[in-house]
Structures are given as C-alpha cells and as structure tokens.
Subunit: 458 residues, 3 copies
C-alpha cells in the first residue's frame, strides 16, 4: 500500500522541520512573557502589594485552559476514531496539526490582537485563544477526514489559522462583536471553511473506499471517549475567556443546561427518525454536542438556564435532522463529502448560536445586567451604542464570518489540490496503513495473529 | 432482533420530548441565577468592593465540579462497559439518564433546599448537587444494567431523583446530618434503591442470556478507564461541597489515602480468594473504589490520614468478599440479580462510611477542631447539641436512608414492571442490538468484516 | 499457564497486607495535618483574618494535583497498554504500585524534607510530591514491563521510593538545586534506576515470548489515551510545585510550547527514519512527550517560549533517534532489555533537561528576573551564591542523580533476582493470563466467542 506519490519520506519531514524552524525564529524575534508570566514584570515596583499571587490570571483561567486542552487533543482526536481503519490517523494527525496550529495561532492572534512595542505578550489567555483557533482547524479536518495527507493538513492549518485570526480581528476588535465561546469565530468559521475545502477536493470515485468508511464496534466506543470529553468540558470552553467573576460562572452554567437539553432531544430524534426506533451512534456521538456550539455566543449573556435549554433543545433536533436528511443531499447534489458531518455539528448549530447571540444582545439592558453590563457589553454600558445596534453588529458578524470562511476555503481548497502534497488515491482513503506502520496487516482486526492460530480456530 | 414490544420508535421519543419540555417550562417558571452568576446581583451596590472576583464561588468549586462531572459521565459510563455486547448501552444510556437527571435534580433539590421568594437560585454548588443526585441514579442503573429499556430507566430516574431529594432534605435540613461526600445520601440510597428495584424486576429465566453477561478482553480495558477516573477524582467528589478552606483541603486528602489503602487490600483479597491466586478484573474495577465511598461522610471530619487508611483498608476487604461470596447468595437465595455488584461497591461501603461518620462525629470536640468546629459541626459549635448527640443523629440518618431507599425501590420496581416500557425479553438482555443500530452484526468482534475476508483467513 | 513458582496466591496477599499494615501504623505514629488541612491550625487565633480561605494552598495547587494524578494513573497506565496481551497488567500493576508508592513516598519524603517536632505535616503539596516520586517508580516499571511479577514490582517500589527521597533530599535541601519538574529527580533517576534493574534481570532467552512483545491495532489506540493525557497535563506537572504566581504560570507556558515543538520534530523524525516514510506509533506515543521531560528543570526559569521550543525540538529528535538506533544497541550489546524504551523518553531527555537547567541557571540575573529572582533562585537573590555557581550546582546534581540511580538499581536488581518473588518464565513474559483471570483464553482477540460461532464464520 505504498506508492511513490503518497510516500511521506521527504515531504512530511521537510514540511515539519521548516514550519517548526520558522516558528522558533519568529518566537525568538516577536514573543515575550506578559505581565503575569514574567518574573520581572510581575514584581515590578510595589506591584506585588496591589495584586496578590492568587489574582494572577493563571488561577482564574488555568483550570478552564486544561479542560479546553483536553477537548482539543482527546475530544476532537478520539471523536474521529469512529472509522474502523483510521484510528491512528484520526488521533495522530489531530495531534500533529493541533501541535502546529497552537504555535502558529499564538503568532497570528498576537500579531492582530495588538503588539506591545512590536512584541507579542503571552500568558494563559493567549494559550486558550491559541487552542480555540486550533479547534477551528480541527473542525475543518473533520470534513476532509480520511481523504487527505498529513502534509495537506499542515498546509491547510497554515492558511486557516491565518484567516481565522483575520476574521477574529475584524469581529472582536473592529466590530466589537461578543463571541466568547466562538459560535461564529470558531464553529461557523471552521465548519464552512472545511465544507468548502472538501467541496473543492471532491472525489467522484470515493465509493471505491466506501467499505472502509464505516465504524466497527470498538471504534464507536473509542469515539464515545471523544464525545464525552467534549460534552463534559464544553462549559469550560465557552467560559474560558469571558471576564472574571459572574460572566465566567454564568457561561459555564448556561452551557451545562444547554447540553443537557440537547442530549434528550438528540436521543428522541435519533430514535424517531430510524425505521425501527433504534438509536444511531453517529447521532449520539455528534448531535448531543450541538448544544454547546449553539450556546457559544449567548452563553455569557443573561440568556438564563431556561433560554439555554431551549437553544440546546433546538440544536439537538436540527443536528440529527441534518445527519439524517441533509448530509446525503449535500453529498449527492452539492458534491460536498463531509466525513464527520461537521455541517450538522458545527455549521448549523454555529449559525443558530450566532442568531441567538444577536437576539440576546439586542435585548440587553441596564435593568437586567445592572453594573454587570460593563463586563458583557462594554460598548453598550459606555453609551457608545444601543443594545439593538449591538444585535445588528452580531448579525453582520455572522455574515462576515460566512463570507471569510467560504472564500478562504475556496482558495485553500485549490491550493491543496496541487498534486505535490501526496494525497491518497480513491482506493486508499480511510486507511491507516498508507501513512502508518501497521504491524502484519493481513487482517484488520488482529495484526499480530499468526496463521497457525487462525487455522486452529477453523 | 426487533419485535414490537421492545421497539422504541414512539416510546423513547415521546418520553424524552415530554420530559424535556416539562423541564424547560419548570425552569422558565422557577429558576433564577444566584448571587454569583447573575450580572446584576453580583455587582449590586458596592458589593464588588467587599467581594473580589476571585472569591466568586466559581473559583472555589468549579475544578471540583468538573472532576465530579467526569466521574458521572466517563467514570460511571465506562465502568459499565465491561459487558461484551453492551458497551453502547452502558455509555449511551448512562449519558441519557444523567443528562435528564441533572436537570430534574436541579428542580427537586432547589425545591426542597429552600426557595427564595418562590424561586430556585442556582450556581456551581447546585450544579455539583445535581451531579451528586445523578450519581445515585447511576448507581441504581448498575443493578439493573442489561435488563431494562431506556424508557424504564428514564422513569426510574424521575422517581429516584424525587425520593433522593426528599431523603436529602430530611437528613441535611431537618436532622442536621453531615454527609458531604454522600456515603448515605448518594451511595447507600442509590444502592439499596437499585437492589430493591432489581429484586422486584427479578427474571427467573435470565440464564437464557447468560453467555452475553460476561466481559471480553478489550471491554475490560474500557471499563478500567471508568474505574481510574472514578478513583482519581473521588477526592474531588467528597470535597466538592464542603465548606471553603481547610475542610475542602482535608476531605480531598483523607479520601486520597483511603483509596490508596483500599487498593492494596483489594489486590490482596482478589488474589487470596482465587484458587490459583490470579487477580480478577471485576474486583480491581470495583472494590478498589470502595475506599472513596466509605470516606464519604467522615472525610471532612478530623478523621486523620491514619483513620482514613483504616477505613479504606476495611472497605476493600469487605467489597471483594462481597463480590466473591455474597453476590451469588443474593442472586440465588434472595433473587437479587445485581449486574454490577453495586451492593459490594456502594451498598456495604456506604453503610460502613455512615457508621464511621457517626463514630467520628461523636468524638468531635473543640480541642481537636478549634475554631474550625464551626465549619464542620455548626450545631455542635453553636452549643445546640453535643458531639455524641450528633453521632446519634448520624446513625439515625443511616436508618432513615435505608428505609427510604428500600420502600422507594419497592414502589418504583412495581411501576417499572408495567409492560408498557418495552423491557427486553430474557433472551435479549445484555445486547446492544436491541436498542442500537449495530452495523452488520454477523459476528460480534467485527461488524464490518466482509464474508470474503473471513474466507481468506481460513 | 499456572505453575507453582509464579502462583501469587500467598505471595501477593501477604506482601500487600504487610506493607499496608506497616504504612497504617507509621501514618498513625508520624503523620499530622499541616496548617492548611487541620481544622484547628487553620483557624488558630486571628490567623483567619490575615489569610482568607481562597489563599489556602488547596486553591493554588489542587487543579495541578489532579492533572498530575491523571498522568500517574491514566497516563502511565494506558501508555503501557500497547502490548497486545498485557493490558490488564500494564494498567493493573501500574495502579497497584502507584497506590503503594504514594503512601510510602509521603513517609519517606516527609522524613527527609523536615519533621516538625517528630511529625510529618501533610497537605496538597506533599500529595503532589508523593505522586512525583510515584512517577519515578512507574518510569522504572516501563523498563521491566512484562518481565516481572507484581511482588517484584512492590519490592522495587519499596527500595526505589526510599532512594528517590534520599537523592531528592541531597539535591533540594543540601545542594540547593532547582528542579521543579524533576528532569533530574524524577526522570533521570527513574530511567537509569530502571535501566540498571533490567540489566541485572537480563533474560538471554527472552525471544521465547517475542511474538507477544508487540502491539495490535486497538492496543495502540489505548496507548494513545495514555500519551495524550501525559502530553496535555505535562504543563501542570512541571508547574505543580513551583512558587505561587508568575513561576507557576510561566512554567506551564514554557512546557506547553516545548511539547508542541517536540511533537513536530517527532513526526518529522519518525517519517524520515522509516524506509517507506511511514509513521511509527512507538515514536508518536513516546518521543512526542520528551519535550515535557526536557523542560522539567528550566521550565520555571526565564527560559522564554523561544528557548523552550528549541529544547523541545531537540528532545523529539534525540528521542526518536534513540528508539530507532540506540535501543537495539542497548539490547544486543549492553544486554539492557528496555520494554518501553524509557531511555529514550525519560533518560536522554532528562539529562538534556538537566543540562539546559544548569545553563539557564548560570545565566540568571537580577536584570532579567527583577524582584522575581527570589522566587526562582533564593540563594542567588539572597547573595549567598552567584548564578554561575548555581549552574555548577545544577550540573553536579545531575552527576549525583546518575550515580544514585545506577548504584541503587544495581543493588535492587540483585535483590529482585532472588527466586522467591514469582517472576514469570521466559516463555510466559508479556502475558496477562499468568497473573489475571482471563475468561476463556482460547483466542486472544475474543475470549468469549464460542466454538460454534467460529464454525459459522468459516
């Protein structure tokens, strides 16, 4: 199962080495510790008297960061192990492109979010933001899963991280959009970018490896590890970079209830849409998470648990319907081969989340938020804009994000189509042994079983 | 493997939808943000001056909450995947009933623990309490694992959560019982409730599916994921809702040492009770956790690491002996078919924990606790009762809990026996394909292997 | 597969019981709560006025502790499940010796790190230190994996924990060495101790069980669970016991970037050194972690993200080269049978980390660290030694550690060679069924499949 075009012997090492060396040089030139990580700055003058150690941002955000980190590496990684012969690549390429993206995102986000005398200052908040940006790349990875080489994925990450940072800059800095949990910046962007890339990379003969594009019993259990970690830690994800205090607390709680409601509607819809009432693992693994996506923008607002549950409830329904009815249409009519169904998990719920955010923002008032309005809508609290104007900005941000994602995906898709990246052939998609040493691959369920043992069995 | 009586096509969607819609309506009517999650309340007047953001309860409790959350969804979920053909249901039904229970528990516990002008105020502490109550339902699930439909489980949860909240209300509010880690309220209640339910649901012909009621190699490894997360995070569980400061710190540490000692006695007993000295995965997966259960009541007290280790040591011994000798007796003589052996993991260690708590409470004194007595035994510190009276109250609370659990389980068991819930037949117990889409189930170890591949092997 | 010499029926229970009872007695005599865990001490006099609850060490360190705990039990445990028939033992013996070691380490470290009027005072920091010491034992376990009985492992832990504490005492207390993440005390010590033990336990006929010393598809996925948890939580590991505030924050961040860079160089080298460019799971599972090891000493220093990335980049390269070229040499020429390749993951990267630490320390200055110098190099800040002297001390500490590890491993290796411990025969290495009840082991991939089902297949 090796041929010269897909051989990674030179392509992958050269790509990794060059990218990493560029990263190291740029970090050397551009990156510095911030106030809370630098030994000198943290103790400058009588600074330490006014800010005790416990108020170092580390103690506010590091537990959330670690949860986000688990979502990125175990959550996304194992969620994609559902394929029977693609577990090494799912976890392994996820690992590789995430490790690259978080470094590159640190630079891109630091560059756009504001330099300090030409330097990027970093700490736990920038680490979370880098993981967030990485999440967006991994969402897109889900659309092209099984059909791309690791070199293609690394190049996709290079471009996607850059565009992500530009879009985020436009939204958060220029438009003053609120999107703490990233319904727009992370999920909508990652999903529509990935869908456009997979559209450009359309393979008319993909059914040649169709028999490998399905799960086996244990691969579905591995995928549930990913699902559950994403589900459990989504409250941390949405609340990781909100303001300290009540916004962080409230966001986590809103997300918790949104996810719970989403889970029940997912089970209901999965059973209802099956002819024999049986639950489908694909729905449980994915649609039950849509409630977290949909609470990404409004989670920090005074959405109330009641509102969060309605949002989650709807997200679960939409997502299952998408898996059942829309994905086949996308594939057959629009030639969008979306391996993990990211349109149902991140695309539509992301758009829903953006809309809910716009509506909730337009209803914000001093009456409801009190002095806390400052923390959630500083522009509104400062009198620079009305709540309905903020709502309009939120809606425009969704349009900007969709445009950036689709246009970016179009360009990047064509770049990735170049024959130099070692993409798999149609017959070797969804197959680990193309890029991984798999011991004695005579039989996929037991690579080490000897011929003699098989003989004994029979 | 589908027949009309077990078909979930209408039963499950209707149940999920109705339950979720009722929950949403009740949340809309009854639930509000508390002081630490509401934007307005948190910043009311000069409140923010007296309470900096870092003292928001979120920063005291959220890391513990996340650990508890992992125990509920990954810990309980994967612990039950040891069955060879029931992994989807173990993880999947665990997920479903937990997502329901935590919402319902928020309402029931809020209702009983004190309304604020007719409203339930929620924050991270109520989220932990909701997860705790959910844990109790999942313990009961362990007793009936493999023998119940998801609709039966949802109805069990409806009733069990309600009774849990009543019992907890009687103990914590009326009697002034101390039970931070829930040896009584969670473990003893969940275990004896579940044992009574499975007694009522007794199946004389369960041996028809006996060959599926066993583990395979990889299913035991999946179960170890559950075991280890429960084991590692039990210190967080027991300390999650203790008072801030030293009690939380002390509880985590006592539990840590109790579990460590329990693990050694579990390995010792597992080897000692096997005729050939070989360790049994069932014991390791379960009995090694008994030390956490048994430290649930006294963990916050001045039990000392020394005392904690003795408790854990005994819990491990009792638990292995239970698996080895008591479970077969319960099944054959008392007709209690306890799939996961919850009597050994939660029942007996829970009772042990309650007794240890009563003894430790009766020995409390100002000499040992100093000013800290107020945080652990406010009634004793305030002079309203003596330490030995507190000990007596703890003992009575165990009796109340046992009574509530057994009586509640009796009633609920008979309700669940109604033929409308789609319970599996005796021949289709412990079988995922009854409720789940399992791809090409011609052979249980490889649902996707094609006939031709098998031919090649032979 | 049972013979009298390897039967654990009496050996294992007696060892466990005696060790645990000794531990309980010593805890009863020697161990007390510290200031932050004792109800009385924490509230002594007007203490509570000067130290609010949030400044209890619990809130600074408990989230880090839990991450470290996950690394010890899930990280190390699952990392070693890559062997096809040794998953129960990998996870199970890891669990057993870790549960023992953390108790024994509490005593040994408490004894050497300073008694308070003859008593050992414990809290969350001592729990982290105990887990650290346990990590060292588990590293050594990796070298002898598959070739030792649980009783041998327990005795190895008894001696190794003791020597670890002595070495740590010499370094941290006497020499004033800085080694927050344990490049020397944990990784170098554990690796060279384990390598010497496996050298002494050399089995010339180990190739008799060679066919079991390899992975299967799903066992490699289980191992990735271990890898990813180690990778994700290494920033918590290295920062767990640094000083509060900026050092903890900085260490976590340095480690994060070191690991990211290491991952890219690992993928590059794995592909480059394979004749067909295919990635090797062994490298990904192990070498990608070397960046965490190598940042263990200098992580708390002003290494900068730039420096951290260079260190991680080199660590990944060295580690893959070690697996590819050095491990076979060690085995064939030096008779060191290193099952998990700990020399490549912990040995060489640990030495690298120590050297980086020495260099970084020798460059420390008030100019760079400002007032923060006190927290990282108290001896230098206090004027008791120069930075270059500190660097020299760091280098000497590496030599001391290597000496202690090799000499200790030599002695302990000979002790473990005594025939009383029930070591497996050469033919039954890497085999769970020697020490574990494995149901119906007629075929390793499906212990429960009935003969009739196999017949149907064919």
């Amino acid at each position: 199962m090796t041929d010269s075009s897909t051989n990674m012997r030179l392509k992958l090492p050269i790509t990794c080495f060059i990218l990493q060396i560029i990263l190291i040089i740029l970090f050397g030139v551009l990156v510095q510790y911030d106030e809370d990580t630098d030994a000198k700055k943290h103790h400058h003058g009588n600074h330490s008297k006014t800010k005790p150690d416990i108020e170092n941002d580390f103690y506010y955000r590091y537990p959330s960061f670690q949860d986000v980190h688990v979502m990125i590496f175990v959550g996304f990684g194992f969620l994609m192990t559902f394929l029977q012969r693609y577990g090494f690549s799912s976890v392994g390429f996820n690992f590789l492109i995430a490790a690259f993206s978080l470094q590159w995102a640190t630079l891109m986000q630091g560059f756009f979010h504001g330099l300090h005398e030409g330097k990027i200052h970093i700490g736990v908040e920038s680490m979370i933001n880098a993981d967030f940006c990485t999440g967006s790349v991994l969402i897109s990875f889900g659309a092209v899963l099984g059909k791309t080489s690791p070199v293609q994925l690394l190049f996709m990450a290079v471009f996607e991280v850059t565009l992500f940072a530009v879009n985020e800059y436009i939204l958060l800095t220029h438009l003053g959009t609120r999107d703490a949990g990233g319904s727009m910046t992370i999920h909508t962007f990652g999903a529509y970018f990935g869908l456009m890339v997979t559209r450009i990379l359309y393979r008319p003969n993909l059914d040649k490896s169709k028999h490998k594009n399905c799960s086996v019993y244990h691969s579905d259990l591995f995928a549930m590890i990913g699902t559950l970690y994403l589900w459990m830690f989504w409250p941390s994800f949405n609340s990781a970079i909100t303001e300290h205090g009540d916004p962080q607390h409230r966001t986590a709680m809103n997300t918790y209830y949104s996810l719970a409601a989403c889970t029940l509607s997912t089970y209901a819809m999965s059973s209802l849409t099956a002819h024999d009432g049986k639950l489908d693992m694909v729905h449980i693994q994915n649609a039950a998470l849509a409630g977290g996506v949909a609470a990404g923008t409004a989670g920090e607002m005074m959405l109330t648990p009641f509102g969060s549950m309605i949002v989650g409830f709807l997200a679960g329904i939409i997502s299952v319907l998408g898996y059942k009815y829309l994905t086949p249409i996308l594939e057959n009519k629009l030639k969008i081969q979306d391996t993990c169904g990211i349109h149902n998990l991140h695309g539509m719920p992301g758009v829903l989340g953006a809309i809910v955010g716009a509506v909730t923002a337009s209803l914000a008032s001093k009456e409801v938020y009190g002095e806390g309005l400052e923390k959630v809508f500083p522009e509104v609290a400062g009198g620079h804009r009305t709540a309905s104007y903020q709502g309009g900005v939120q809606a425009i941000s969704l349009a900007v994000t969709l445009g950036m994602a689709l246009f970016g995906g179009l360009i990047v898709g064509f770049i990735l189509k170049l024959p130099i990246f070692g993409a798999p052939r149609d017959t070797t998609c969804f197959e680990d042994s193309l890029y991984w040493e798999v011991r004695k691959p005579q039989s996929h369920f037991s690579y080490c079983m000897k011929k003699s043992e098989i003989a004994v069995m029979c």
